[in-house]
């Protein structure tokens, strides 16, 4: 109750003052009792400072309360807690509930947008939504149809709406938004429909567009300065967003921006990654296809790109670069560095200097990754920063209408959007991963606006000659580029992890288990089967002096599409065992929040 008062009065005092509104949000982020942003904090740590639940007592955890969302689809993201109110979102139709934590979760208000149902089938891979954001007494929702809505956090009344894209040409949204200072920063989905990705800043108070930076196109579109925007320390030069494309192909170039965003207030830089170039047939789009598959650092005020790093030039496997960028300050060779750690779909975990964009570490975070022998780390080399592609697994070198087999990871990536956690206590990253490989056969497709523009056939299966399962949950050392421990899982781990000051790490599984493991050793300490498979992210908050852990259940997303029926195994009959069971044997659709606590 006290907290809410404090919050309301701060908002009143600071109304109209952008910088202070941002300070207010950062203050809330630093309060471990609340969960004010999907990613835990601007640095995307997904770390809770609460330690009431710790590795000694987590085994006693029990269900405190539950809430049905009323929607049976893939539930990604997590609730927010601000003061005494919890905000819960759903997949399409993107309902938002405000629940009163002082009154057994009574629904204070509910917002349900009216959206054209024709947006449903243009959303690749289920109608997920990764949650709402909060700032300035406002809840921000980015709907499936790309409408950005600002809702009064107290009443649910609509303050403003802005339209960010056009579903008729395949532009949709699945992501949350990032409130920074007086702006809301917003991405776009639709890489499988040939859209051109962009990031847009809207004025937090009015919804007016402030800037938009495209992933490809002329410098005026990409917001790049040929001299001052750098790639691995060198100026990108003029028209870098068009000169690695053939003709006008950049106009349907993909590079969508549907992942997680982070922000460094000191450097005033926003970090995110861009997705795959369209189509999935590499022969149809010669060149590096810049700046798809790229880590971007943009100025929050102007959108200007400070530095970029393209991880997978000329993608041949659909390894979107959208996964989260986790910001940490750590010591390397006796020197404190401002770091950015990123677990890419391509199976490589990158550590960069987030101020300069210098590449420090690039190592495989699943030993089965085989499409590359590694990244050239020699700054004086012609191919500095580029992954060396293994010819056998190159779908471009093998060509159209050739089935390239045994590529690891699969297009799902060693990790998809499911976000990792970072504990400043252990300086380890806790990473939910896929352990899946694929056959990939590209072929020619034609482009029709608003229609899928894929151009490849994929077969996926559990990584051969391994434990038979399709996932691992790992702890990663980003300085030495090493796996510290790895827990095999029967299915891909498609849930966002949470690390806590109690040295417990939580994650969900596709069968529906919430699991708690020891942050140092990975030893399992607790598990509970929720009603449906988990693809949501674990969060924690405090209410009336008690720590709670919350998770959304509701199987779906790409995991629900790929794994519901199980994956085939090309080694069938050659002694492969077990792992390729069907997810549908373990769980069915659902939509529920489960909140845990220790016994009173």
């Amino acid at each position: 109750m006290k907290k809410l008062f404090a919050l309301t009065s701060t908002v009143a005092l600071c109304a109209g003052s952008a910088a202070l509104a941002n300070d207010e949000l950062m203050e809330l982020m630093n309060d471990p009792g609340q969960w004010v942003i999907q990613t835990g904090n601007y640095a995307n740590h997904r770390y809770s400072g609460l330690d009431q639940i710790n590795r000694e007592n987590v085994g006693d955890l029990q269900v405190a309360w539950t809430f049905s969302t009323g929607v049976l689809r893939g539930h990604e993201g997590s609730p927010l807690v601000i003061g005494d109110t919890m905000y819960v979102h759903t997949p399409f139709p993107n309902i938002v509930y405000a629940l009163d934590l002082n009154d057994s979760g009574r629904i204070k208000w509910k917002y349900e947008p009216q959206q054209d149902a024709s947006v449903i089938p243009v959303m690749c891979c289920d109608t997920v939504n990764r949650g709402v954001a909060y700032a300035n007494n406002t809840i921000f929702l980015h709907q499936a149809d790309t409408t950005v809505v600002a809702l009064n956090a107290e009443t649910g009344e609509v303050k403003w709406t802005a339209v960010n894209g056009d579903p008729a040409i395949g532009e949709t949204n699945t992501a949350t938004v990032l409130p920074v200072k007086d702006k809301v920063i917003v991405g776009i989905s639709g890489g499988e429909f040939g859209v051109r990705g962009h990031v847009t800043a809207y004025d937090m108070e009015t919804g007016e567009q402030v800037w938009r930076g495209y992933s490809m196109g002329p410098d005026s579109d990409t917001l790049m300065d040929p001299e001052n925007t750098t790639h691995l320390g060198k100026p990108v030069g003029p028209d870098s967003g068009t000169n690695t494309w053939e003709g006008d192909q950049w106009k349907i170039g993909g590079g969508t921006t549907w992942g997680w965003y982070s922000y460094d207030p000191e450097l005033n830089l926003v970090y995110y990654g861009t997705g795959n170039p369209s189509t999935w047939n590499p022969s149809q789009r010669p060149g590096d296809n810049r700046w798809s598959m790229t880590i971007f650092a943009r100025d929050a005020d102007t959108g200007m790109a400070k530095w970029v790093y393209q991880m997978t030039p000329h993608d041949e496997w659909d390894y979107d670069g959208v996964n989260e960028m986790i910001l940490s300050d750590q010591e390397i060779d006796g020197q404190m560095r401002k770091l950015l750690t990123h677990f890419d779909r391509n199976g490589l975990a990158y550590t960069l200097d987030r101020e300069s964009g210098e590449l420090l570490v690039a190592e495989k975070y699943d030993p089965v990754v085989n499409w590359t022998t590694g990244v050239d780390m020699d700054p004086n080399s012609e191919t500095y920063g580029r992954p060396a592609v293994v010819a056998e697994y190159s779908t471009a070198q093998n060509g159209e209408d050739v089935n390239t087999t045994g590529v690891c990871p699969a297009a799902l990536g060693t990790k998809d959007q499911q976000p990792s956690a970072y504990s400043p206590r252990t300086e380890m990253f806790y990473v939910p991963t896929n352990h899946v490989c694929m056959d990939y056969e590209p072929f020619r497709v034609s482009y029709t606006a608003g229609q899928p523009y894929v151009g490849a056939t994929l077969s996926m299966y559990p990584a051969p000659d391994s434990h038979g399962g399709m996932g691992n949950f790992i702890a990663w050392d980003n300085i030495n580029g090493e796996i510290k421990w790895s827990i095999p899982e029967q299915f891909s781990v498609w849930s966002g992890a949470l690390a806590t000051a109690g040295d417990v790490v939580f994650y969900g599984t596709l069968e529906g288990f919430l699991k708690a493991v020891d942050a140092e050793t990975g030893e399992e300490l607790y598990r509970f089967k929720t009603p449906s498979g988990i693809i949501g992210n674990v969060m924690s908050y405090e209410h009336d002096g008690k720590q709670y852990v919350g998770i959304l259940s509701g199987v779906g997303g790409w995991a629900g599409i790929g794994l519901a029926a199980g994956l085939t195994n090309p080694n069938d009959g050659l002694g492969a065992v077990g792992g390729y069971a069907a997810l549908s044997d373990y769980t069915a659709l659902g939509g529920q929040l489960t909140v845990f606590k220790l016994p009173d």
């Binding site: 689809r73 893939g74 399409f92 289920d126 999935w280 229609q451 599409i561 029926a565």
Partner: protein, 176 residues
């Protein structure tokens, strides 16, 4: 009337080869549904496109091509091998329930089934050449899956692509 509509759409988009049946009686070995073949395509006694799987497991070109096209255009909603997902129903079963004409009609026109308990929406693919030029391929592939004649995964052996199929494909993909 409805049937006529289907046939017209199909005829316009994919070009119904061999309708009416060139051969009276089945002249193919085995007990599959294929009664006769023409230009590398297989048909039932009623002139409906179907699959043909030889004793050694070699599949006809269209079934193989259907496997590829299905896993490019359909599987992102309907799951691998026509098995369905948490998002959309299994098409290997759908082709057992609906006939060829209904299948083509549904793919061309989509589905809108939205109420308090359903949110099933399938887009219209009628203008999408990547789908409509291969509609027979996708149908016979799913039919082979639904009949239990074809296992999951990529067919290991396939017939060569007939010149007539290549010509049809080029014309269809290039057409306006």
């Amino acid at each position: 009337m409805k049937r006529l509509g289907h046939a017209l759409i199909f005829g316009a988009v994919a070009g119904l080869a061999g309708a009416g049946g060139a051969t009276e009686n089945r002249d193919l070995p085995g007990d599959g549904p294929a009664a006769y073949s023409e230009d590398g395509r297989y048909f039932t006694e009623d002139g409906i496109p179907t699959y043909f799987i030889a004793e050694d497991g070699t599949v006809d070109w269209l079934t193989f091509s259907g496997f590829r096209r299905y896993h490019a255009e359909c599987h992102v909603c309907h799951g691998p091998d026509g098995m369905g997902s948490t998002y959309a129903p299994p098409l290997k079963d759908a082709v057992e329930r609906m006939d060829y004409y209904d299948f083509v009609y549904t793919v061309s026109n989509g589905i809108q089934n939205v109420d308090t308990t359903h949110q099933n929406v399938m887009p219209t693919f009628g203008q999408n050449k990547n789908v409509m030029c291969y509609i027979d391929d996708i149908y016979v592939y799913l039919k082979a899956r639904g009949d239990g004649a074809l296992a999951r995964g990529r067919p290991a052996k396939k017939e060569a692509k007939a010149d007539a199929i290549r010509e049809f494909e080029d014309e269809c993909m290039a057409g306006g």
